[in-house]
Assembly symmetry: C2
Homo-oligomer: 413 residues x 2
Amino acid sequence: MSDREKRTVRDLRRTNRSAVLRKLYFDGPLSRQELAPATGLSSGSISNVVAELTADGLLEEAGSVDSDGGRPRTLLRVARRCAYLIGVDVGETRVRVELFDLALTELARAERPLARYGYDVERVIGHIRGALADVLHDANVAASRLLGVGVGVPGIVDRSSPGGAVVHGQTVGWDAVPLESLLRASGGLPEEVPLFIDNGAKTLGQAEVWFGAGRGARHAVIALIGSGVGACIITDGGLYGGAHSSAGEWGHTVLQVGGRLCRCGAKGCLEAYVSAEAVLERWAEIGGDVGDADEETALATLLAHADAADEKAVALLDETAEYLGAGIADLVNLFNPERIIISGWAGLLLGRHFLPAVRRSAAAYALRHPVERTTIELGLLGPDAVTVGAATLPLADFLARGGRGRESATAGH
Amino acid sequence: MSDREKRTVRDLRRTNRSAVLRKLYFDGPLSRQELAPATGLSSGSISNVVAELTADGLLEEAGSVDSDGGRPRTLLRVARRCAYLIGVDVGETRVRVELFDLALTELARAERPLARYGYDVERVIGHIRGALADVLHDANVAASRLLGVGVGVPGIVDRSSPGGAVVHGQTVGWDAVPLESLLRASGGLPEEVPLFIDNGAKTLGQAEVWFGAGRGARHAVIALIGSGVGACIITDGGLYGGAHSSAGEWGHTVLQVGGRLCRCGAKGCLEAYVSAEAVLERWAEIGGDVGDADEETALATLLAHADAADEKAVALLDETAEYLGAGIADLVNLFNPERIIISGWAGLLLGRHFLPAVRRSAAAYALRHPVERTTIELGLLGPDAVTVGAATLPLADFLARGGRGRESATAGH
DNA sequence: AAGCTTAATTTAGGTTATGAGTTAAGACGT
DNA sequence: ACGTCTTAACTCATAACCTAAATTAAGCTT
């Protein structure tokens, strides 16, 4: 059923290093004393592991706290400058690259616009490579000190193929683009720096779970509404990808058999009702004025109409809230998460307008037991957090490895 | 993020015992020589672990194979009679209890009918207790030799509450029934025999994954269609439960916002279109003759009508196939499984009739990439496998523990 | 019967975590 | 100021474990 699980006594150390590192990373500075019960290790082992991590330069002291009457405990934290991360957001209109330290504070960024016709693969690769060199130069960080590069892209990322991640971006016209090998071949970064590619929606979700509205949830779904609709599914604290890491395609969930035509070709998808594009389209259909502004301002205009009690706008948004609620009900019924977080630029805009209505609709369509135990909230991070989320991918790997190098990870099957 | 991960050097042994045991359990008799690469352990450790397991009576030799010129390797297998399992199926019309050996071959069974008004909790508890005693007596097995008792029930089982599993069976009128503590209190089985309770659909799914159409799949969804509709979701080889183990409530996925009223109170649920009850209801609505036979024969009659080219029946089933396909498309989009297995008595009946149509519909409603990589098949096990699946719960626990006792598992947080 | 081949066990060596005992560092009371 | 008390962190002996190499076991070939 499952081959290689855990093997040697050496893996133990890695696991324990990882536990200590993770605890310190997420729960701020802690003393060795607090670390012991939190990780389940004995105080002796904590000393041992901490000494090792400190020797590796991953941990540093952070002051001390009096302990009434006794020796004060010295606090420990992860050394934020011991390594660096890069997050790349390949968006609909631009490529953005940011450089972070371990604590994910931004050190440099570079952005390259992508003209509408700009989804030429070569052009995107070139932009990434150039921007990557720029941020490293600006912050004066050697590429060798990078823990890894995370890339968030639109579309489905299939990580199960042998030559590295392959991107299928139906909406941007990418069909089986072997992004990983192309980026590698472009020579922009050293051989040994690992590359992590995933769907942009998922990276944003990961960011939201680590640092935003999802903090502490073991089971959560981040619903992302922009021009399109997607979702990031967190199960047992980690990103769920399914067999070919294309899970979470919530936007193409069927809400109306034989309903509105979606850009995916099917009928009645959630996306055909609640995406910004769809809402505006429907607004135009019932005679709403759209103008030729960009989607963002157009949506804001629609919301303003509704605020001004424009009946048509109100009705449209009511319906949208019902559909969105029904879509969320599906997530609740199928995944039973603790929390559902609505995010994405349109999701935040719409959510601020009608979150209570969405909650009501979700409660009406979902089963009572699970929906009563799920909270539905808005995301705390802006859509810009895609880069943060992308940087999170190598970071997660780093923490899971306990801050050790990746040895000969090529001990394939 | 996650507390207790792995700790001591002792857990290592458990993990390795578990790996050896699992490998032997699922992949038949193997020699020590084959075991080594399969588990990632050295031949020395294999010897060691195997010796320990044999001393514990969990393994036995199973002949030997010549190895041209050398010492023949002796084959090993799990001793099927080293412990026993009980599976309980609390169904819509009866309680069934079966006793199995480790290989899950049936040794005894007992069945108690449940009158229509029979969902009285006390009655069910009494039936379980009685039938349990019967099978143990019939097969002459001491209760102390039981590895555990697995129970499959209708409704949502919340295992997150402190006093043991609680069952919320909306359809059978059970509201927060603390089945675990009630069964314990009934005194039917010794203190130390563990009790595992889960949704019957999920246990059936588990059986299908271990021994049926799902063998070998790491990501699968078993779609169960009977009077109601449910699903069992397997992620990374294990049952997915979500935050309160109520995940997989596929039947109440919305397929038609504002559509047919479902017995859950919401409108447009999948269950309101494709469950046996719903199909027959719709058949009656358009004037089909139903008679007052039980659901099973009524559905068979409908299918016979369609086979005889009764236009109304054909149209109804076409529509049903479309809805079912759309529901499956949702599963594909959201979970991206390798395999979807249609089961449940009505699912098997309907599936045999129109599986190709369902596949077409699913392909039309789901995204191309994932649906091309998912197979949609019928289950291989009959609905009777609920007991097998239930027995699988303690078995999974046993294998995960490496066949060791459960020590002081009360080292709670 | 000696030599060869392959299987399985034993042994030596190296990591690791535990837990008791020790040292470190400061507070408190007289 | 001094000794006592309290708490933190480290050290070291012990036990458990896995690996790799060496050894024993079992059967075939010539």
